[in-house]
């Protein structure tokens, strides 16, 4: 008996992109900062396009430290939620239509967040990726790094702890 035929690629892409769009696209603050997510399989890269209103030091100029912190936190939270929901998205337990309609499951909550500023954020686009270092039943620990021109020269990194939602009855 041959294994079942794999799903057509456009069906897979449509499902994953719809889920990602529902996760990040419906959050006003993510839209306010204009943060977008680029997806390759299950790997996410966050993109923060430069804008004048992101400036925190007009003399240098440099991106506001609070913007950098927010960018890392958004990247950490979306990446954690994405990894956490992945199985349900793939199995169809979470339907893209329901997600698109705003029917999201409860998401992890930030407990604390530590940011290291490694160099000043230049007035240009920034990118970030997060790694879920540990994902437990109640708590998760996530590390995120942001860079601009060189992936090997991050301008900031952060570690966040999250409280995972209680299983729904």
């Amino acid at each position: 008996m041959p294994r079942p035929r794999p799903e057509p690629v456009q069906v897979v892409k449509q499902r994953r992109d719809a889920a990602l769009h529902a996760l990040a696209g419906g959050v006003p603050y993510i839209q306010f900062l204009n943060i977008r997510f680029d997806r390759r399989g299950d790997e996410l890269t966050a993109l923060l396009p430069f804008d004048e209103m992101l400036i925190g030091n007009p003399m240098l100029p440099a991106i506001h430290g609070g913007v950098t912190a927010a960018f890392l936190e958004v990247t950490a939270l979306i990446s954690l939620s994405w990894a956490w929901l992945w199985e349900d998205i793939e199995s169809g337990a979470l339907s893209p239509d329901a997600l698109e309609a705003g029917d999201l499951p409860r998401l992890p909550k930030t407990i604390d967040f530590t940011v290291d500023y490694l160099r000043s954020g230049l007035p240009r686009d920034a990118y970030a990726r997060a790694k879920v270092t540990r994902s437990g039943r109640r708590y998760a620990s996530v590390h995120a790094e942001a860079w601009q021109d060189n992936r090997s020269r991050p301008f900031a990194q952060g570690t966040a702890h999250f409280l995972m939602p209680a299983p729904e009855a």
Binding site: V27, P28, Y29, I55, H64, G66, A69, L107, Y117
Partner: protein, 140 residues
């Protein structure tokens, strides 16, 4: 001199594009401590179901307020930048209410300023968030 420095720090904060984008207002700044208020704004919501402000916007407020506290210190640094900042999120801010942060630069050396801060909404007895940070001290 201190009053003059406070005026410069106030002007500096008010020329920060991102602080303006979030409509931050300095209500008090002197001797290494600052208080800044940020009005509720639907664009800053992190959870559309509840209308709660995103933690990232609270981080931006805490970072700005901490930097302002350093700038207003009597030892008069010419500039400052965040080295690190840790934020504890104790509870969700109540939707519709402004968030106020107060930061205090409790120790400063020739190179580093140490700051703690807290933030609250209309219920000042139950902080929304607390922060501690280290900041650079640029030569005057």
């Amino acid at each position: 001199m201190t009053a003059d420095k406070a005026r410069i720090a106030r002007q500096f904060i008010e020329t920060i594009p991102h602080a303006r984008a979030l409509s931050m207002q300095i209500t008090d700044i002197a001797d290494g401590a600052a208080t800044i208020t940020m009005p509720y704004d639907a664009r800053l919501v992190g959870d559309p179901k509840t209308g709660v402000i995103h933690g990232g916007a609270v981080s931006a407020l805490m970072d700005t307020c901490s930097g302002a506290a350093v700038m207003s210190h009597p030892s008069a640094p010419a500039g400052t930048a965040t080295i690190d900042l840790r934020i504890d999120y104790m509870r969700a801010a109540t939707p519709g209410q402004p968030i106020t942060a107060r930061a205090e630069c409790y120790h400063i050396t020739r190179s580093v300023a140490f700051v703690r801060a807290s933030a609250w909404d209309d219920d000042a007895d139950r902080p929304v968030a607390a922060a501690t940070g280290a900041f650079t001290v640029e030569g005057g």
